[in-house]
């Protein structure tokens, strides 16, 4: 009998206790040394062909008859009260089907039930940033919707505004909310030991003030939704990393049973943390579809995507480290300001690395999540940790230089074999292995410490180019958690189908689920199908985020496959007149000591039957901490004449437990490295003095191109973590984005002897620094 248990669930640094409905496990974890047949093998994406041929239908590809198009009217002001909205001229345009705004939204039933994070309304009044949604226009075509938007007359009363987070945290700053400008009304603080004593005991103290820019997700598929009401069921096509979350939100809005809301996210053109839950556009589209009895398509345009769909928040970090002569850290102190923009429901965990990475007895952090009149925050692949590591690992390098220690040796000196906040052990910790493997692969000892008389000597310049090497560490979550459920059904043609309402962000979830089921069933992978990303097709699975898809739904799929295999074994035993334990199923063949028969042959004996196996994700062990670890080593070439920084090579060594598929893993590593390189060198939202975005497009907002791509080498530790779950797997989606930026900054320092405290490190900064250095400033 399943039972209801309370379990700890962690998501991107936020830990909650939640109920989980769990069954007795049907599987035991695969042994670390166990030889697996399909899991761990480089299986190509099961949906690769449809993706590259264009057959895959993304949300933005959905076209339905009589479709109505939604379009936002956005605020041109950073902070303003809406005095009046006059839609009369707009409504005269033929084809306009409705205009919703703050003054008439209450006309829709149930809207009052909808609460957005931090009291965000459908249409906030006052508006809080340039680009804030003021009205939504629905019309027979996008062109009509745009033309109508131009005809809406809005009178604003301008309010004082503030763009800078540190300024907004001051008491006299213009206030964005009734509870002030801080997320949760106060900074989040943490302390262990005595940080003052730690600095008093230190032989060396280093300090730095770091800033990082606002990085925009820039998903190639913008936020999008198509809603279709057929009088009984609301079908929502949504580019979402959380189909069940969308389903629940829409059901509540329309006062429908959840079963009457179907959400489909077959293919997702990039999410990176910004596509959780239902968007306002989703709910508005659903409302209008319900009202008009027509399908409604609401797709953000590129400008809207870049301005209003989220960002990795800009940070300012005051960081201070103290250490003994032998490198032992005695104190870490961090005060940081996260500019979460106009709206945020939580404060990204920028202080996470300072708290969790190193064995340091005295740690104190104060983190301000500050509302400002700038575009809003949304989770972005390892929120807080990319920023936090950028500062922490830069200062660790400075500390190493002062101590005349090898930067890698300094990190290994401060390695923590237990979780430093509570002394609990980890289920597994491959950080030292990652350090060693990465250092070996890149040739750290020779390149960093060989050939040079003294460590601070500048690198030789050849043809205007100086080369350098740097590294940084990674710690992150990725444990996965219940609840997640799956069904595996076997049909009499000996094919199997996995059903679950998870989604594939583009990471290869479908492929690894097929591998897991094939392994457990003993079927060839070609006979496994997978139906996900449709709330009507499969049972509940959680959102895909926090590097927890594989580690949450993967174990449930293995459980379901084990259940199905046990049933199949029983059937085979009866037909073959054997005992169940005499039967093995391998590669679709039912084997006994003296016979081999295919599963299809066995099942041919019985018509019209179906094996349904079900499985659920079991709770994580409560006595251990689960973390992913890693290190990246980077070689850069800096052109001292033109300020160009070329990242030439990245060695990424990570411990994410068992590797399910080396191809999907290396694609995660490569994507993470590139996004982090963008953060380090080129990506940044630019606002003018009044808060208007100056690069809300893909021309002025620079993401790395293939021409920027370095040689990226993936060196996974690949050691199963059987204490964590039945697959021994931990997440890998976010880990690779965490250390690259910090490692690049350290490599630049190694190359030219200049420390950059501000990301992105663009050419102007490099050239100005070289100029200052030449002048001897």
């Amino acid at each position: 009998m399943p039972k209801l248990v309370k379990t700890k669930v962690e998501n991107e640094g936020r830990v909650t206790e939640e109920y989980a409905w769990v069954e007795e496990p049907k599987t035991t974890p695969w042994d670390v040394e166990e030889e697996l047949r399909v899991v761990g093998k480089p299986i190509a994406r099961v949906d690769g062909v449809e993706r590259v041929t264009g057959a895959a239908k993304y949300t933005t590809d959905i076209q339905l008859p009589r479709m109505v198009h939604g379009n936002y009217v956005r605020s041109p002001h950073p902070h303003a009260r809406i005095v009046s909205i006059d839609t009369s001229e707009a409504e005269k345009i033929a084809g306009v089907r409705g205009i919703i705004h703050s003054k008439n939204i209450a006309n829709f039933a149930n809207v009052a039930n909808i609460r957005f994070a931090n009291h965000r309304d459908f249409f906030n009044d006052p508006v809080r940033f340039v680009g804030d949604e003021v009205a939504a226009v629905f019309a027979d075509s996008m062109e009509i919707a745009r033309a109508a938007a131009q005809k809406i007359r809005i009178e604003y009363e301008l309010l004082p505004f503030v763009l800078d987070a540190e300024a907004a945290a001051q008491p006299d700053a213009p206030q964005l909310t009734q509870n002030g400008n801080l997320v949760d009304g106060k900074p989040s603080t943490y302390a262990r030991g005595d940080v003052e004593k730690g600095f008093a005991d230190a032989a060396v103290i280093v300090e730095g003030v770091f800033t990082t820019g606002a990085q925009v997700h820039s998903a190639l598929e913008t936020h999008s939704s198509v809603a279709e009401w057929d009088g009984k069921t609301m079908t929502i096509y949504e580019s979402s990393q959380d189909v069940v979350g969308v389903q629940n939100r829409v059901a509540k809005l329309l006062n429908l049973d959840a079963a009457r809301v179907r959400v489909i996210a077959s293919y997702i053109g990039g999410a990176f943390g910004a596509k959780f839950g239902a968007g306002k556009f989703t709910l508005l589209g659903a409302l209008m579809s319900n009202k008009l009895r027509r399908p409604v398509r609401f797709v953000l345009d590129r400008k809207g995507e870049q301005i209003a769909a989220g960002q990795r928040s800009a940070t300012k970090q005051y960081l201070k480290l103290g250490a003994k002569k032998d490198g032992t850290l005695t104190a870490i102190q961090l005060t940081n300001y996260n500019n979460v923009g106009a709206y945020a429901s939580w404060n990204p965990y920028t202080e996470g690395p300072a708290r969790e990475l190193y064995a340091c007895e005295n740690v104190q952090t104060t983190s301000y999540g500050v509302f400002t009149n700038t575009p809003p925050f949304a989770a972005f692949r390892a929120p807080g940790f990319v920023e936090g590591i950028f500062a922490l690992e830069a200062l660790m390098d400075e500390l190493a230089a002062k101590l005349k220690m090898d930067p890698l040796a300094l990190r290994m000196k401060n390695y923590s074999s237990v979780f430093p906040e509570n002394g609990r052990g980890y289920t597994s910790n491959g950080l030292l292995d990652a350090y060693q493997e990465g250092a070996r692969a890149i040739g750290w000892e020779e390149k960093k410490n060989g050939k040079r008389e003294t460590r601070n000597e500048k690198r030789e310049t050849r043809n205007g180019i100086r080369r350098g090497i740097g590294m940084a560490s990674q710690i992150w979550y990725g444990a996965g958690a219940p609840p997640s459920f799956a069904i595996v059904k076997i049909s009499t043609d000996a094919s199997a189908t996995i059903l679950t309402a998870t989604q594939d962000l583009g990471t290869g979830t479908k492929t690894i689920l097929c591998q897991i089921a094939a392994e457990e069933l003993g079927f060839p992978i070609e006979r496994i199908d997978v139906e996900i990303a449709d709330t009507q097709a499969g049972p509940f699975a959680g959102a895909s985020g926090g590097s927890m898809t594989a580690s949450s739904i993967g174990p449930a799929v293995r459980e379901a496959a084990a259940d199905a295999r046990q049933q199949l074994t029983q059937i085979a035993a009866t037909i073959l007149k054997k005992r169940a334990k005499e039967i093995r199923i391998e590669n679709g063949i039912v084997k006994t000591r003296d016979s081999e028969k295919s599963v299809a042959e066995i099942l041919k004996e019985i018509d019209n039957m179906q094996i349904l196996g079900h499985g659920s994700r079991n709770p994580n062990p409560s006595e251990y901490e689960i973390r992913t670890f890693g290190a990246q080593f980077v070689e850069v070439a800096v052109d001292v004449e033109t300020g160009e920084v070329r990242v030439e090579r990245v060695v990424a060594s990570h411990d994410s437990g068992r590797i399910l598929n080396p191809l999907t893993v290396s694609s995660q590593i490569e994507g993470g490295v590139l996004q982090s390189m963008g953060f380090a060198l080129m990506e940044q939202r630019v606002l003018d003095a009044n808060g208007a975005s100056l690069n809300a497009n893909l021309e002025g907002y620079h993401i790395p191109t293939i021409a920027d791509t370095p040689k990226i080498e993936t060196h996974m530790i690949d050691r199963a973590d059987p204490l964590a779950n039945n697959l021994g797997v931990k997440g890998v989606g976010e880990p690779p984005i965490i250390p690259t930026a910090g490692a690049i900054a350290n490599a630049i320092y190694d190359a030219i002897g200049v420390r950059f405290y501000d990301a992105p490190i663009t050419r102007d900064k490099v050239l100005d620094a070289l100029e200052r250095m030449e002048r001897g400033d």
Binding site: E143, R146, A147, Q150, D301, K303, N463, G464, D639, E641, T642, G643, E644, R646, L681, M682, V686, D688, A689, A692, S693, L694, N695, A696, E699, G700, H702, P704, T705, I706, A707, D708, T762, R763, D764, L767, D768, L770, E771
Partner: protein, 322 residues
């Protein structure tokens, strides 16, 4: 949004089709997206793609004739241009992305609109008929450092710099007939009285670019510094051209891009490089006072050093090719 579209077959038809605020377009890589976004407004469009007179690249005794409809990819791949006008081929291949180069034309490239972020974001700036330039006192990292008047935008074209270096002639047709202007004269710094970024009149279109013959001993290179390795506009660039006579540099032309509203000729540097021995030491050690007269703004002083850097890169690249 409704609009008319015309498909003229000849230059004459194309010129006379341009009335009542009509817009010509060829590749449409910029105009069409900006029309869709509402930034560009027009109710009448003239598609130039069927005007065959405007196509092709011809090599004659006079030099090379490039039709205005020649795409950047065609120019970048043309054998003669790669051999004799290398900087132009490089400038074309360093422009934009492969997709844009395959449809974007040289005529459109030279007559393209400003990419100033304020202008393109809809600020009521000088270029949009407003009173002031917002970039001057704003986010001016990408702004001009020299040769600007009331507006500090930089001209975005890469090929323009190479065309100036080769002293190309631009053939222009309008209602009054045909005229020829030098590549240098084509561009102008906008000011409050006249906000045009080139000297073309509303009724005039570029029909052809003529590259004069170059001596055998000509060397040229185009080096472009960007915020990433490809597909963005120059922070600074240089079209460098010279001849080698008795192992010395002569007839040097240094044209800087990304630093001014026009392709900016650095006469002083040209003079300093003239007569210099063509070897590693003498050309790369010299500190040619590139942009010595610059008047940088708050955030773009780096462009001076960058311009010097791209010039050195160009010299190094040509030395390595010898």
């Amino acid at each position: 949004m409704s609009f008319d579209i015309a498909f003229p077959q000849t230059i004459d038809e194309a010129v006379s089709a341009n009335e009542n605020g009509a817009r010509w377009f060829a590749g449409g890589t910029d105009l069409i997206p900006e029309f869709k976004s509402g930034f560009v407004r027009a109710t009448r469009w003239v598609n130039l793609k069927r005007v065959h007179e405007l196509r092709g690249i011809r090599v004659t005794n006079e030099g090379v004739h490039i039709g205005a409809l020649a795409t950047l990819a065609e120019i970048a791949e043309n054998e003669t241009i790669r051999k004799n006008y290398r900087a132009l081929a490089q400038a074309c291949s360093l422009s934009a992305s492969p997709q844009i180069r395959n449809v974007g034309t040289i005529g459109g490239n030279l007559n393209q609109d400003s990419r100033c972020a304020y202008y393109r974001s809809g600020f009521p700036c000088l270029l949009r008929g407003g009173e002031k330039c917002f970039m001057r006192d704003g986010e001016n990292r990408e702004a001009a450092v020299i040769g600007y008047r009331d507006c500090v935008h930089v001209h975005p074209s890469d090929p323009a710099n190479a065309l100036v270096a080769f002293d190309a002639r631009i053939v222009v047709r309008g209602r009054e007939g045909e005229r020829e202007i030098s590549a240098q004269e084509l561009f102008r710094a906008p000011d409050t009285k006249d906000t045009r970024i080139n000297v073309l009149n509303a009724d005039e279109m570029i029909t052809e670019i003529v590259l004069p013959r170059v001596p055998e001993n000509t060397r040229s290179a185009y080096v472009k510094a960007m915020d990433r390795a490809a597909w963005t506009f120059a922070l600074a660039s240089v079209a460098l051209k010279f001849e080698i006579q008795n192992s010395k540099l002569e007839n040097v032309c240094v044209v800087l891009g990304g630093v001014a509203p026009i392709p900016y000729r650095e006469f002083r540097v040209e003079k300093a490089l003239s007569g210099v021995e063509w070897n590693e030491e003498s050309v790369t050690q010299g500190d040619y006072a590139v942009l010595g007269d610059a008047q940088p703004l708050a955030h773009n002083r780096y462009k001076i050093r960058l311009a010097r850097g791209v010039l050195k890169r160009a010299l190094r690249e040509l030395l390595a090719n010898e």
